[in-house]
């Protein structure tokens, strides 16, 4: 097993598309997305209702080596500062294959 960083980003559905762009710009090609996430935060209640996904969140999950994370860390921080959402980083072991 190999140690990696797991980065979990929860942000608005519309903003998450921008986060995906940031990931791509930094050659992070592998990640997962959970749609239809509800939540509450500094920017109010995202109750999942509505005709657009303006009141929905998504959760992006990226598992990557720490050095890859360092690359997109600052652009991501800047984006989230403006657009809202959280980013949680933790240590995981990757059952490699």
């Amino acid at each position: 097993m190999k140690p990696l960083k797991k980065i979990e980003i929860i942000a608005g559905a519309i903003e998450s598309k921008k986060v995906e762009k940031i990931l791509k710009e930094h050659q992070i090609t592998d990640y997962s997305v959970i749609t239809g996430v509800r939540g509450r935060g500094g920017r109010g209640d995202r109750d999942g209702d509505g005709l657009t996904d303006a009141f929905q969140n998504r959760m992006l999950i990226v598992a990557c080596p720490e050095e890859d994370f360092e690359k997109f860390k600052e652009p991501l921080r800047n984006f989230l500062k403006k657009a809202g959402g959280i980013c949680l980083v933790s240590d995981v072991m990757w059952l490699n294959h």
Partner: protein, 320 residues
């Protein structure tokens, strides 16, 4: 007149009230995604297709072209004066977003008005559907432009991107696409599609308005943060816009049906296309403000009071 205010006894409107009521009494009634999505795709497809089929019969005249031009012009102009009214009371970001919201249109309000006309057996032109599609996006561009200008933030925003996003907006594409298809297919196909596009239309609208009621009820809660000024704006802006719309209809010598639809387009405010676009281009604006304002104030005002009121005024003027 009674017949007109009988609008309130229409299943779609009554189910809209039922939806609001269900939220107020804290019922757990809900219509989860993507059911509302399905209903709105259906409604846009049907209204576009029917409009196109209608259009296939009509000659393209100067009146039609002036109506379309007027409609588009209004969606550029409305955000300008809305912004002036708003910017003293709310942040520039919010002012721009709300201005864009009121410059754009609400398809469901339009569809409710068209269903209202159909009940009264009043005709309207298929080109009004084109007017709706054309009015959806310009206001977004104006809104972003205003914000950029007044915040002097010419940062990373590319107008090209915003314009492209506005033009490729899902509902614009679906509406215009359905309109063109409705024009192309020929009478036989229009008849074949009628059970789907016409007969069950009112029922589908009813179901959709039930969901809109639920949504409106939920969003009403956030209005507490809006303050009286904004609440007043949510009622007076559509009224003012309706007066403009009626005046323009008079100038254009529109028939009552088309006059009502133009009026309702000018008077209505977006809660689908604009919020989605604003979230991406102006994340600083508060969607907890502009969405509830258009959805929980202006939308119910228009479909409950506005449609019959505007139409009554149009008839009065027409008779003069």
């Amino acid at each position: 007149m009674n017949e007109i205010f009988g609008n309130l006894l229409n299943p779609p409107i009554l189910f809209f009230f039922l939806g609001i009521l269900a939220v107020l009494i804290k019922s757990d009634l809900d219509i989860p995604q993507p059911i509302p999505k399905l209903l709105s795709v259906y409604l846009l497809l049907a209204i576009g297709f029917k409009g196109g089929a209608e259009l296939a019969h009509s000659a393209v005249g100067p009146k039609m072209i002036f109506t379309l031009l007027t409609a588009v012009a209004m969606s550029f102009i409305t955000p300008l004066y809305a912004f002036i009214v708003l910017r003293k009371k709310v942040s520039i970001y919010d002012a721009g977003a709300i201005a864009a919201t009121y410059g754009s249109i609400s398809a469901v309000t339009f569809i409710t008005a068209s269903s209202f006309l159909q009940d009264l057996e009043v005709a309207y032109g298929g080109h009004m559907v084109a007017a709706m599609a054309l009015m959806e996006s310009p206001a977004i561009i104006v809104g972003v432009f205003l914000i950029r200008k007044f915040t002097k933030d010419y940062g990373e925003t590319s107008y090209g991107g915003i314009i492209k996003e506005a033009l490729t907006n899902g509902s614009v594409v679906l509406l215009l696409g359905s309109l063109i298809i409705g024009m192309l297919v020929g009478e036989k196909e229009v008849v074949n599609m009628k059970p789907f596009t016409d007969y069950i239309f009112k029922g589908m609208l009813t179901l959709f308005l039930l969901d809109m009621g639920l949504l409106t009820g939920k969003r009403m809660r956030s209005l507490r943060n809006a303050g009286l000024y904004l609440l007043g704006f949510g009622v007076l802006m559509p009224l003012f816009n309706a007066v403009l719309g009626i005046g323009l209809s008079l100038l254009l010598q529109l028939e009552p049906g088309n006059a009502l639809l133009l009026t309702i387009l000018v008077a209505s405010a977006s809660y689908i296309a604009v919020p989605a676009a604003m979230r991406m281009s102006v994340p600083e604006a508060n969607p907890g403000l502009y969405v509830p304002l258009s959805l929980a104030v202006t939308f119910p005002f228009n479909i409950i009071v506005g449609i019959p009121l505007y139409y009554q005024v149009i008839l009065w003027i027409d008779k003069m």
